[in-house]
Every structure is written in C-alpha cells, then in structure tokens.
Symmetry: C3
Subunit: 144 residues, 3 copies
C-alpha cells in the first residue's frame, strides 16, 4: 500500500512547534497499516522538522534560544542577506535540523517513543504556510 498527500500547515510564529497530532489527524490512512513507514518532506529551505521532547514547552523555548545563539543574524560575512536578517540563519538551521524525516508505523499508529513528538522549526519571522509531502507505505492489516 502506498499513499501520498500534501499537508498544508497554517502560518506559525518563529520558534519550535509540536505538530504530531496535526500529522496524525491529516493521515487516517496510517490506521490501515499493520507495519509500515511514514515519510515526511518539508518542502522549504527556511524551516525544519525534527523529533524531540513532547511534554515541556521550555524544551522548545531553549531550542529556539540555542539555535539563535549558534546561528546568529547579521553576521558581517553573510553574502546572502537581501531577504532580511532572519533568512540566511533560517537556511542553515533548516539543514542542521533537517527537512526529511522517516517514522515507523506499527499496528496503525506512529511508533514514536513515549516522550517523542514531531517538531516544526519555523525559522523565519514571517514564514507563512508550510507544505509537507507525506508518503505512507507498508502492509495493510488483515482485519481492515
């Protein structure tokens, strides 16, 4: 079984956001899989998707602080600066954290660890809508 769908995420503030439940709600096809995988490609170069702690919002705040300190705005040596001070850092953060993510599916559910959630990293001040190409593939359960 293969299934592919473009998901549209509404605009979010700069920072890290949990999107696990949005992904699951948009893909009821996951419930049909006995065993399989979900692949997500965030189709942008100034945002990211990654996996991290799904409970305490201060983890996501500290992520934003860390990446802002590590990938600074207004570095005098940036050459790509005409789209604003948040642009080049956003590109770098996007590649450090990644835009392509594969997750296991078991008995109709994402098989994440207890504390794992999917983060959308919005690295632009005004990122707008974000698109994810989701690909679901695997074996259907016999009872479905």
């Amino acid at each position: 079984m293969w299934f592919q769908k473009t998901l549209i995420l509404p605009p979010k503030n700069r920072g890290f956001h949990l999107i696990t439940t949005d992904i699951e709600a948009a893909l009821p096809q996951l419930k049909q899989l006995e065993v399989g995988l979900l692949h997500l490609l965030l189709q942008h170069t100034s945002a990211s998707i990654s996996i991290n702690e799904n409970a305490d919002p201060t983890v996501r705040q500290d992520f934003e602080s860390f990446f802002n300190r590590t990938v600074k705005e207004n570095e005098p040596w940036y050459r790509h600066d005409y789209e604003g001070p948040d642009d080049m850092p956003a590109h770098i953060k996007s590649s450090l954290l990644g835009t392509s993510l594969t997750l296991p599916v078991s008995q109709g559910r994402l098989a994440l660890g207890t504390w794992q959630g999917i983060y959308l990293g919005e690295h632009r001040d005004q990122g707008g809508q974000r698109r994810i190409m989701a690909t679901v593939y695997g074996e259907r359960s016999g009872t479905d």
Copy 2:
C-alpha cells in the same frame, strides 16, 4: 517483505559508541533481502544515532569533545534545567545528530561505505537502556 522489531541496547557511558555489529546481529532478517532498506528509530530524545568513521576511537572521542563545547551545560538562559545539567544539552544534541536513520541493504548486507559505522550518541550521564524500533523492508532473494 516487511519485518519490525524493537531492539534494546544495554546502558552505555556518555559518549559515542559503534553499534553496527549489534544492529546486524539482532536482525538476521537482513540476510534474506536481495535489495531493501533498514530504518532505525531511536525512541528517545536525549541520545542520537548517526553514521561516522568506524575505525579510530579518537574520532568518537573528538565527537564527544566537539558536542560538549558546542552545546554547553549550565547555560544561564536554559529554562528546562530541572532534570540536571546534562539534560537540555542532550535534547539539543539529539536533534542535531538525529534519531531516525535509513540504510540500504544489498544482497543480504548493509551497504555502508568501507569506513562507515552506526554511532549511538549517549548524551546523558546515566542514560540507561535505549530502545530502537527497527523496520526492515525490501525484496527477498530468490535463492533464500
């Protein structure tokens, strides 16, 4: 062919550890594949899996030094600090290096480069057991 299994890694010291042979030994199903892929999800948010040099242990030591210097403990601006000084840095290292890894399988073997091995990055001082959800999928060889 699809196969899925939870692997349990025994507790390891903080640092980077080669786990290629542990993964292969736990998944004899890989030998049945003519062509396919192995997906690994480390189901934690304070450790990582990545690919790097499989020969010289000083590479793994330098990895630990680099990540400790780049993602420092006890930053005054950390908000998520109640689980100890190693906790928030462990979360950040986990997302920088990743917890989801896909590897090719050819003629029954992982098709890694000559110098490539799978690293477990244990980023906590006392990380305990670690769980990996392994998903094997592909085409069986005709002779097996």
Copy 3:
C-alpha cells in the same frame, strides 16, 4: 518495484555543490514511478548530503563559511589529527548535515519544494570521487 545503483560523483572542490540534476540524470527509473521514494546514502564520513536553497550560489558560500567557523580546524583538543587539519572537522560536518537522505517521488519526478535542491557538502580539501548508493522503490505507473 525496487532498483538499486551506485552513483559515482567526480571530485569536487571543498564547499557545497548542487547535485539534483546529476542524481535525476543517473536514475531514469524515477520516471517509471507513480508514487515512491528515493533513498540516497553517501558512503563516506567526510562529506554530506542535505537539502537547501537551489538558486542563489551565495547561500552555498555562506554554508561553507558557517560550517568552517562552527567546526574549526586545528583545535588543540582534537586527538584525531594525523590525516590533516581538514579531516576531523570533515567528520563532524558529515554527521551534523547527514549522509542519508530520503526524498518523495510523485508521477515520475522528485517531489521537492520549488526552492529545494540536493547539496553535496565536500568537507575535505582533496576529497576525490564520492559514491552514493541510490535505492528507488515504489509503485509503477499503469501507463509505463
């Protein structure tokens, strides 16, 4: 449908290089897929593959500047230093950016975002040829 092939990239200068069209040209099999995925494993530990902006070359120049500043050569605490000053930084950059990448295929084409391209990060001064193990899998289109 499964297909696997080793791609050889000719030697490139240290820095970041767009290789999207090289990958597509080497894999005409992608055109046969209605829906599927392409997995790439760069079989080296001192180079990387990642996704980023495919238009302005200054983005790739700023990537090189950022990673050279963040992962410095000649750190006095490097233990793995006998292969030259560019070697240990190359290993670290390789794991920060990654060597394993999965991309969606839709109706015979890579389903990247408008501004996305595949970067080869060559992190050695004299990296030589680089090998990528490409795995294509999915469902053929009915008309092919």
